[in-house]
């Protein structure tokens, strides 16, 4: 409603009124008032501008009662009074303002007058200044043109001075060895000098420069020749020389020969380190690091700068030859160093070193595409990997031998300390520990070799490491070779021990045989599966099948077990042979006891039985006699009776003796004494007993017996019969051999009168 200029008041109506009045006074006609005017057109509005007292009075008189009029009147009076007082205060208020305003205006009037004078003065002065200025610029016009000209002359003179000073400057540069500056200065001046060379003075300068530049080039060349500076310096040098229009070909050759000498110095450093490495004991990673940092990076630098400098002028052929020859030397050094890496403890160092070596060579590929160097590098890595596999194989082999020695010692230990037999590990424990040792070692080796094919190794994605390394290298070269080696060395045990009378403890033979058999049944396929999985072997080339290895292992196991049987059989044979050979059978006394050696044979056989039982299954018996030693007796005694009642001992019918045994032989199979055995306890024991008894037989046949000699043999055989049948698969075999022994003894007897069966039994049962 009200204008924004008026601050809100407690009594806006009163204020507005005052305002409007003031407005009226000042003749202002605000826009805001126009709206109000419309409202207050009413002549009865006492506050409106169109108020008509007559109309108002008439209206009042018409409309109001007396009382109302009275009230109205008093109200009116009151209002008039308050208006009056308001008016009065306003007048008072403004009066002072009017006074001061008047004073101010008066003062202003005076001041303006003064100002007017000063302005006049100023304009006069300005006019004077303008005039002066015009005059001055008029005077200066000539000089300005002169100065411009002079400054042009000045620059020219500067240039000339540069030219004149050029020789001195070049000399100075030469002194300070700021060759780059010198060359750039000369370059700037060269064309000018060339252009004005017809003028004698310039000519002189040019000649001077020429001489100096010649000198400079000389120095550069000198520097170039001297070497000792870094590759960067060198390339700078070459760049400058090129700018001096040196022949590129020559420079190129020089550059290369120079780089060569420096690289060769690096190589020599490496060579020295190689020689010292035995003494200083730096590892291969350090060596390769050094090689990479010094040689390879310098080489890269050389290649880069060569290409930068000469690539437009020259073919890359020279560079290739250069790089190839140097790299060949470097490679030979690296290879020597790799060959020194014989320890197989930690493969990661070598792999990392090779990786770095290989990785750094990739830089050359990028710089110099088509170079043979990286592929040669890869070849080195491949060779190193091959070598490594060989080393691991031999390490495995040594390990195998060592663990066998350990086993041997463990086997020998109980004999040294019979008392503490419990402390030493038993055969099955030894077997498991041995096979675990071997397996673990193999696994750790596989893990080590596996590093070669790790993903983060740069060369692992080369075709060799993807294919041939896994299949031919690791699988064939390492795992298969190792398994073959185990079989082979096992077989050697059989061969070497046979000649020199059993230098290998029989228990070891047994153990190895079981080991080989275990390999045949499970370990080989496990190992190969493990390898195949670990290395993701893809068989591009034919590999040794699992079955072939298994067959080999089985063959070795068979051979070992046969040999074990042979060795044990021979030990018992030896006892029997000595016992038969050393006794005087003709003059022996009547038997009262079983000879001690027979007890020993039974004891030994029992302990062998236990030993074999630890590692091999029972196996099947032919005609298993349930438990009855009685039945055994009956079989034995019946055959005994045959002999007793057979007329063989009676002098009248010599033919019948042969007949009897021949008939016997006709119906029994031919007994192969040293024949292969099966992988079970019974078969092994049968083999040993066969060998022992056959020896007994052959020895008996070489002797002559008295009556009691024969009887002693009877007793011994019966004793053996009592105890040995339980070990063998076919007890008839024992019967047959023992009968044969007794029969032969009877033949070789001067006075063949056999002992009563009952007496024999009594003696044997007595022990």
């Amino acid at each position: 409603m009200s204008s924004a200029t008026t601050p809100p008041d407690s009594d806006p109506t009163g204020r507005r009124r005052v305002h409007s009045m003031l407005k009226l006074y000042y003749g202002l006609n605000e826009e805001g008032t126009a709206a109000e005017q419309a409202e207050s057109l009413d002549p009865c509005d006492i506050n409106g501008p169109h108020f008509d007292p007559e109309v108002y009075l008439n209206k009042l008189r018409k409309e109001c009662s007396l009382g109302e009029l009275m009230d109205h009147e008093s109200c009116m009076v009151k209002q008039i009074r308050s208006l009056d007082s308001d008016m009065q205060t306003l007048v008072y208020e403004n009066y002072n303002k009017f006074i001061s305003a008047t004073d101010t205006i008066r003062k202003m009037k005076n001041d303006f007058k003064k100002m007017e004078d000063e302005m006049d003065c100023l304009s006069a002065n300005m006019a004077a200044i303008t005039e002066f200025s015009a005059r001055i610029s008029g005077t200066l016009q000539d000089q300005h043109a002169q100065i411009t000209k002079l400054s042009g002359v000045h620059t020219l003179l500067r240039k000339l001075q540069f030219l004149f000073e050029l020789p001195a400057r070049l000399n100075k540069c030469l002194e300070l060895q700021a060759y780059a500056q010198a060359v750039s200065a000369h370059r700037r001046a060269r064309c000018v000098l060339q252009q004005y060379s017809h003028m004698p003075s310039f000519r002189g300068i040019q000649d001077d420069c020429h001489v100096i530049m010649e000198q400079l080039a000389q120095q550069l060349r000198q520097k170039f020749r001297d070497g000792g500076s870094s590759a960067k310096d060198l390339s700078e040098c070459v760049e400058l020389l090129l700018q001096l229009d040196e022949p590129a070909e020559e420079l190129c050759d020089k550059f290369l020969s120079h780089a060569q000498s420096r690289l060769e110095a690096d190589l020599q450093g490496l060579e020295v380190e190689l020689k010292d490495s035995a003494v200083t004991d730096t590892d291969i990673l350090e060596f390769i690091d050094r090689g990479c940092n010094e040689f390879v990076s310098s080489l890269c630098l050389v290649i880069a700068s060569y290409q930068e400098l000469f690539i437009n002028q020259m073919a890359n052929g020279k560079l290739h030859v250069f790089v190839d020859t140097l790299a060949a030397r470097y490679f030979s050094l690296v290879e020597q160093r790799i060959q020194e890496e014989k320890g197989v403890g930690d493969n990661s160092l070598l792999v990392r070193a090779l990786d770095r070596f290989h990785r750094r060579l990739q830089a050359i590929t990028k710089l110099l595409p088509g170079s043979a160097v990286p592929s040669h590098g890869t070849e080195i890595v491949v060779r190193a990997a091959r070598e490594r596999i060989k080393q691991y194989l031999s390490a495995l082999q040594t390990f195998y031998h060592d663990s066998l020695t350990d086993v041997r010692q463990a086997l020998a230990a109980p004999r040294l300390a019979v008392g503490g037999a419990n402390a030493t590990p038993s055969l099955p424990e030894l077997l498991t520990s041995l096979s675990n040792f071997i397996l673990n070692q193999l696994k750790s080796v596989l893990a080590s070799v596996h590093l070669f094919t790790a993903k983060d190794i740069t060369f692992s994605n080369k075709p060799y490491f993807k294919g041939e390394f896994c299949s031919q290298g690791v699988r064939e070269g390492l795992v298969v070779s190792f398994i073959k080696f185990i079989c082979q060395s096992s077989r050697q045990y059989c061969e070497s021990a046979g000649d020199r009378g059993g230098s290998t403890p029989p228990a070891l033979l047994l153990l190895l045989s079981r080991l080989c058999l275990d390999y045949e049944t499970s370990t080989i396929s496990y190992i190969l599966t493990l390898t195949d999985e670990q290395f993701l072997v893809q068989h591009h080339t034919p590999v040794t099948p699992v079955t072939a290895l298994c067959a080999e292992a089985r063959e070795a196991a068979q051979k070992l077990l046969n040999h074990y049987v042979k060795v044990q059989g021979l030990i018992i044979s030896q006892m029997l042979r000595k016992s038969v050979e050393t006794r005087d059978w003709v003059n022996t006394i009547e038997p009262r006891n079983v000879r001690a050696v027979m007890k020993r044979v039974v004891e030994d056989t029992t302990s062998i039985d236990v030993q074999v039982g630890l590692l091999y299954e029972e196996g099947v018996r032919k005609a298993h006699s349930s438990d009855s030693s009685k039945r055994t007796f009956s079989v034995y005694s019946s055959s005994r009776q045959q002999i007793r009642y057979a007329p063989s001992y009676t002098p009248s019918a010599p033919m019948d003796t042969n007949l009897l045994s021949n008939i016997h032989k006709l119906f029994s199979e031919r007994i192969d004494i040293f024949s292969p055995v099966e992988f079970n306890k019974v078969s092994v024991l049968t083999g040993i007993i066969k060998i022992s008894l056959k020896t007994f037989l052959e020895c008996v046949r070489l002797r002559t017996f008295g009556r009691y000699g024969l009887q002693q043999i009877q007793v011994d055989c019966h004793y053996l019969q009592m105890y040995l049948w339980r070990f063998v698969s076919d007890e008839n075999l024992v019967h047959f051999l023992l009968d044969e022994i007794v029969g032969s003894a009877a033949h070789r007897c001067l006075d063949p009168s056999p002992m009563e069966q009952s007496v024999i039994e009594v003696i044997c049962e007595r022990g």
Binding site: N658, F674, E698
Partner: protein
């Protein structure tokens, strides 16, 4: 080309001793000595008629005792030595003697072979090789290719060289040697080398093989532990002077070059029990016969270490043109070391094998049960060697 079947002859007694009649070069004749403690022992003279594949036998009585070893004189057909065991005062001693066969045996046997057993003739004793001071005799060896005047007997640990005088009726010890060492040493076998002018002898005791020089009667070499077990027999290669074969209880047959005694030249392991006897063929030394107590006789062809030129082992330079053409004539691949045949006719241990002295393609083997088997080298091989 069917090979002839083996001819088998059975003796009534057990037997170990077998020899070819060394001096007889026309008839194929073997001598077998029996072993019996109860009956009179015999020497069977086995004549083999090659054309009819028949055997003619004669029996001579040897009443001195059971025969452990028999050996025929190289000079006189009728003279032979035996080692026999004699029991006296409950002591068994093996003695040796030189005998002569009665001159009539041949005619008598031919007329009535059946009667001969009824009334056998007796050997005529020429002389004893008196060994009472030296102990049991293991074997008697005639000087090879000699005049039948010198024999060696091996008694316990003594080597005795005898001179036979006055038509072998008198024997005197001309020199002797004794093997000294720990324990009871005892010779088990011996062989008089036909090389070096018959001045060398090889003996076996326990696992060792020893060589002796007969001029000085001193040991010239010793192969310790030649076999893992006892050495049972040995034989010299008739054509290669330094080569000998041995066999023993380790079931092996080994070939030795006595100049390099550390390792055997070759080793065969074909038998499944002790090998008791080994014999080189007298003419074709690649043929080797072994007998074993596994009841088998094995004939092997050891071309690589024989005196015959062998394709692979003989250097090309050494091959003269003559030999080359000879090889070309053969038109066949060179023979390899191999087993030619395993003979399984025996059912008991074979203790002796012997080549015939008259026919190089024929041999006999004797097993303990008294079975004598005469076999021939397979014809195919024979023609290959000959042609």
């Amino acid at each position: 080309m069917e090979d002839d079947a083996p001819v088998i002859y059975g003796l009534e007694f057990q037997a170990r001793a077998l020899t070819a009649q060394t001096a007889e070069t026309d008839a194929i004749r073997f001598l077998v000595g029996t072993q019996s403690l109860k009956f009179d022992n015999q020497i069977h003279i086995i004549d083999f008629d090659d054309e009819n594949n028949m055997i003619n036998k004669s029996v001579l009585l040897h009443d001195a005792g059971e025969i452990w070893h028999i050996s025929g004189s190289p000079a006189e057909k009728a003279v032979l030595t035996t080692c026999y065991s004699k029991t006296s005062e409950s002591r068994v001693l093996t003695c040796a003697a030189v005998w002569r066969m009665p001159p009539e045996w041949e005619s008598g046997s031919h007329e009535s072979p059946d009667d001969s057993s009824n009334n056998p003739q007796t050997l005529e004793l020429l002389c004893h090789l008196d060994n009472t001071t030296h102990g049991s005799v293991a074997c008697v060896l005639w000087e090879p290719m000699g005049d039948g005047k010198r024999v060696i007997s091996l008694a316990e640990n003594h080597v005795l060289l005898w001179d036979l005088q006055e038509s072998s009726t008198k024997a005197t010890i001309s020199s002797s040697a004794t093997l000294e060492g720990k324990g009871q040493l005892k010779f088990t076998a011996g062989k008089w080398s036909p090389h070096h002018n018959s001045t060398q002898l090889a003996t076996a005791n326990d696992t060792a093989i020893r060589g002796w020089d007969l001029r000085s009667m001193s040991q010239i070499y010793c192969i310790e532990s030649a076999h893992g077990q006892l050495v049972r027999d040995l034989d010299f290669n008739p054509n290669k002077q330094y080569y000998l074969a041995s066999c023993g209880d380790d079931c092996k047959v080994k070939f030795w070059d006595v100049r390099h005694i550390n390792e055997p030249v070759k080793c065969l392991e074909e038998h499944s029990h002790w090998v008791w006897s080994v014999r080189y063929n007298h003419s074709h030394d690649q043929l080797l016969l072994t007998g074993s107590s596994d009841s088998r006789v094995i004939l092997s062809n050891m071309v690589s270490i024989s005196s015959e030129p062998f394709g692979h082992l003989v250097d090309d330079d050494e091959l003269s043109d003559n030999e080359e053409s000879q090889q070309e004539d053969k038109g066949k691949e060179p023979l390899q070391d191999s087993i030619i045949a395993t003979y399984e006719e025996h059912e008991d241990s074979v203790y002796a094998v012997e080549w015939s002295a008259a026919d190089p393609w024929l041999f006999a083997s004797l097993s303990y049960d008294g079975r004598l088997v005469i076999n021939r080298v397979p014809r195919a091989l024979k023609y290959r060697i000959l042609l």
